[in-house]
Symmetry: C2
Subunit: 300 residues, 2 copies
Amino acid sequence: MKCKKCAGPAALELRRHNAAFCSPHFIEFFRKQVAEAIHKHRMFTRDEPILVAVSGGKDSLALWDALLEDGYQTAGLYLDLGIFDYSQESKAKCEAFAASRGLKLYVERVADTVGAPIPDVQKATRRPACSACGLSKRYLMNRAALEHGYAVVATGHNLDDEAATLFGSVLNWQMEALPRQSPALPSSHPKLVRRVKPLYRLSELETAAYAFLRGIDYIVEECPFSTGATSLAHKELLNRLEEASPGSKHNFLFGFLDKARPAFERLEDVVLKECSRCGQVTTGEICAFCKLADRVKQHV
Amino acid sequence: MKCKKCAGPAALELRRHNAAFCSPHFIEFFRKQVAEAIHKHRMFTRDEPILVAVSGGKDSLALWDALLEDGYQTAGLYLDLGIFDYSQESKAKCEAFAASRGLKLYVERVADTVGAPIPDVQKATRRPACSACGLSKRYLMNRAALEHGYAVVATGHNLDDEAATLFGSVLNWQMEALPRQSPALPSSHPKLVRRVKPLYRLSELETAAYAFLRGIDYIVEECPFSTGATSLAHKELLNRLEEASPGSKHNFLFGFLDKARPAFERLEDVVLKECSRCGQVTTGEICAFCKLADRVKQHV
């Protein structure tokens, strides 16, 4: 296999693009896809500071690296979920990444706000950890961005993540989730920052390759709570489709964004107000995060 | 396992309904699902003669049987695709079914209209046989119904068929196909008969069980052209989902029909006119079937 750009030996084949690249040209390709995502969805400008939510994994550190290399002003946000060694190690990866590049890294402990680390939250809610964890992360990302003066949070969600989420929403036709599936969620309230996913055009394999080729030291282990997660089962099914027909995932996600998503956009916007407890944005009286914290307090 | 109704020994477990039935109560359950489908989508009345499209397989003969047993006025329509022994045998099953019950069976040969049997059509179009075959069947069903004075055609599509079709449409977000996915397609033109699918609430396993328990002699072999068909690959994926979580297929199809389909219904109806060649309904000047017949004539 030869690099599509320079005809030198290829390091990576991208079947869905019917292309192969050498290392330097793959890195160029990767950054172009990030730039295309930022441009197409007007995610942010070069004058805006961006808060990058980092987990210590390949995706979010690859994202941070790509944004830095493209000259954006960034700081990192690490949310410490308190998941045993996994959290210790992933935090260390983020700290090392930030320190070696002289970057600011904010650290928030989920336990400080929700009342217990994720393993105890899971026990208190008696439901899969992913749901309470996702809720907590979205809440704390937004709150941290507001506190530290960032108007936009960037996350490392890649094409596989987004296609799997869409797949789950479609299997049950979750009419509230479908219009919210987007590479760029605008701010619909002064206390809600924008959320953007500059890696949505790149597959998991591609972010892993970028992180590897860039020499980024990331945590390879998956979250111990992810075993048996529905999203992983959906990723596996999508991988089978992708193998039989390269480009399936891309067509599924991009077809949705281009053609179907407009059909799901609600005609009237949901009315957002401030939670009577914490002041963060919610559709009800008390936000879902405060309700979760209440349940946790009753059990720990 | 015990029958949910009579507590006698169960013949069949239906995991997605969290129920089991003995033979008589399964047959009752099956017919109730058919009656519910007819009622819910106002498919037809008892005063209307119904043309049942039969292939000789379990689904369409089970449908014909259930409609007969419920007292509907029916005749059968067999479309002879000219697929070697497979068509010979399936036709014989339909003829035997009709003859033993003293029912009218219309037979139409695809080759008489399109110019060649399906194997030659496939060669002429150089595309998977399923696409030309489906087009031909829809065309001939409608034409035969008009000719013989039926306002409605019933087909044996089951839950698995419908879920797999929906899955294929969703993977590529086929915005024209999605609003047309329905258990009951109304007549939107005087030359277009209604098309209904009274088995859409019943799985493939359930129609097979019904056919078996009712002693219906059907062709067990699948169409030889279906090997490797995308719809079969999609059925397999849906079966994996169903196994992991019984009811997945049902939720996917029914959630679409209840919640998502309205979002896809086009605001303006497509303008239908009559094909300048054959007089059947089309959106263009010449209908897709006549174009197919032209291609076939050039090649045979």
